[in-house]
Amino acid sequence: MLQTTRQYTRTALMAAEVVLKEMAVDSFIMFTIVIQPLIIALLGLWMLRDRPDAAIYVVVGSGMSGLWSSMVFISGNSINAERWTGTLEMLVAMPTPLYVVTAGRNLAHVMQSLLSMIAAYAVASLFMGYALDIDHPLLFIPSLFFTVVAFISFGLIMAPIFILSPAVDQFKNGLEFPIFVLCGFLFPIALLPEWTTPFSYLLTPYWAARALHESAHGGGDVGVVLASWAILLLSTVIYVAVSRRLFRVILRRVREDGTLGLA
């Protein structure tokens, strides 16, 4: 049991390494995790210039947008890329379960997409001279950690769906901006009509953004932050549990349909 865990951890880390080596200089990834969030950050910085805490708010918010875009586009694309190159089929027939590999790959994608936040931070502080203080670092860092964990496990839900059919690809364009709107990355959801609030509450990225904003420049309300952590953790647990089932069902399904490789 312990040995298996060690082995799986090692394999997952190696999968992460493979992702980073494979995708190091991909222009699509550069756009998704650097250019787009950075342009959003510049727009945000300019538009919110009259607000005192604008800079750190925008850095966190645009960073979240990069994290989410990467989730939608890069995780999905990387599955399809493996389908084209024939390695997806290989992975399925390996003795290591696919969710272990996927977790490692998601780790790489999520860590990589933290670059959005870092780039926005660098631009705002170095080039535009904003003072960027994080008000409550002791709350912020765990918030970031729980966010990363929640995103990685959400990726475990996305991956099997992308494995099921390359056609899912068509929908991903429609998954990006709605989350930006509903999750309060760059403006409070109080601006939205009231009936949308329950939807925001159901979305994990909303709580991630909430914890990060609250600890970076909000009041640092410990209650709010702790509650957000609890929800992030709960989501993580749910995602992991659901994904195990989903992987089982979908891997069986693709072996029945013969849609793993290219026909």
């Binding site: 082995q7 090692r10 394999t11 190696m14 999968a15 493979v18 080596k21 494979e22 190159t85 024939g86 390695t87 089929e89 290989m90 992975l91 399925v92 027939a93 390996m94 003795p95 290591t96 590999v101 069986r252 072996r255 029945e256 349909d257 013969g258 793993l260 490789g261 026909a263």
Partner: protein, 322 residues
């Protein structure tokens, strides 16, 4: 000797969409009813024309496809219900270059797959250089795969599939696209594996390869096994035949039809080689009909007429129809 692979009434149907919109589904019976056993340490060849269902069979055995019906066990484990156990005991190659990480080096590919095959890093450290040497990639292992030739990628696949030293191997057209020297080297690796008492299921389109390597051969056609025996016995089945080969020039299909209509002619095939053509005729009357054939080729240039014993290829051609 115990049975390593047991296949019973295996059947696999694909549902493919025929229209762009994917509304109409068509059923393709890729494997209709296949049964065979492979003994431990045996090298079993699966031969058959394109689309006969070889790859589909192998994929079902390698746990990549679930059979529509029928059962298969590998080392005693069921390929559907004990897929995990099966995966630990097998290695597989699907001929060609796909299935590798192109932007990684050969060695990094092996390191990754070693970990997927659950090898300990210390084990992998010893095994990888050994395998790189074995498949003749020494000195190139640190280059990225994208710069490898086709043959190099196929060798890397061989190394990959031997990482966890599996007892059972599925080799689907391992020599496809290799140059003659590369193919010969690969066959010698397969022979070594054979002498290590690995159980091997090999598919190939090269009859001499099958003849030279296989202990037994199953011939599959339209998803069904039409013959299953040792290469010797399969050839025995066509002992009554002789094969007439001649070099001819400028022959068209109407001449072939005329030849096919001749008494005692079993099959006729024509192959283009440079400017000339090779005409191959199978007949149970051997040299007796040579004169008849030549008479029928009146007006065409005919050279180098040879009457020879049948080979495995002739047996194969008779079985699958040529």
């Amino acid at each position: 000797m115990s049975i390593a692979i047991e296949v019973q009434n295996l059947r696999r149907v694909y549902r493919a969409s025929t229209s762009i919109l994917g509304r109409e589904k068509k059923e393709i019976v890729a494997v209709s009813d296949v049964s065979f056993d492979i003994k431990q340490g045996e090298l079993f060849g699966l031969l058959g024309p394109n689309g006969a269902g070889k790859t589909t069979t192998v994929k079902m055995l390698a746990t990549l496809l679930i059979p529509t019906s029928g059962t298969a066990t590998i080392a005693g484990y069921d390929v559907v219900h004990q897929a995990q156990k099966v995966r630990e005991s097998i290695g597989f190659i699907f001929g060609g270059e796909r299935g590798l990480y192109w932007r990684l080096s050969g060695e990094d590919n092996l390191r990754y797959f070693a970990s997927l095959y659950r090898l300990d890093p210390s084990e992998a450290k010893k095994r990888i250089p050994y395998l790189i040497e074995l498949v003749g990639l020494k000195g190139r292992e640190n280059e990225k795969i994208e710069g490898y030739s086709r043959g190099m990628k196929q060798r890397l696949h061989i190394a990959r599939t031997l990482l966890h030293d599996p007892d059972i191997l599925f080799l689907d057209e391992p020599t496809i696209g290799l140059d003659p020297v590369g193919a010969r080297e690969l066959r010698s690796i397969v022979r070594d594996l054979q002498s290590e008492k690995k159980t091997i299921l090999l598919t190939t389109h090269y009859m001499f390869e099958a003849d030279a390597l296989c202990d037994r051969i199953g011939v599959i056609k339209h998803g069904e096994i039409v013959a299953l025996d040792t290469p010797q016995n399969l050839k025995q089945g066509v002992q009554d035949l002789s094969v007439i080969e001649m070099e001819v020039y400028g022959i068209g299909s109407e001449v072939l039809d005329k030849l096919r209509a001749q008494p005692h002619v079993d099959s006729v095939s024509l192959e283009d080689r440079e400017q000339k053509q090779a005409l191959v005729i199978q007949s149970s009357h051997g040299s007796e009909i040579v004169q008849d054939v030549i008479n029928n080729l009146n007006g065409y240039r005919v050279e180098r007429v040879v009457v020879r014993e049948p080979t495995l290829e002739d047996a194969y051609v008779r079985l699958v129809g040529g």
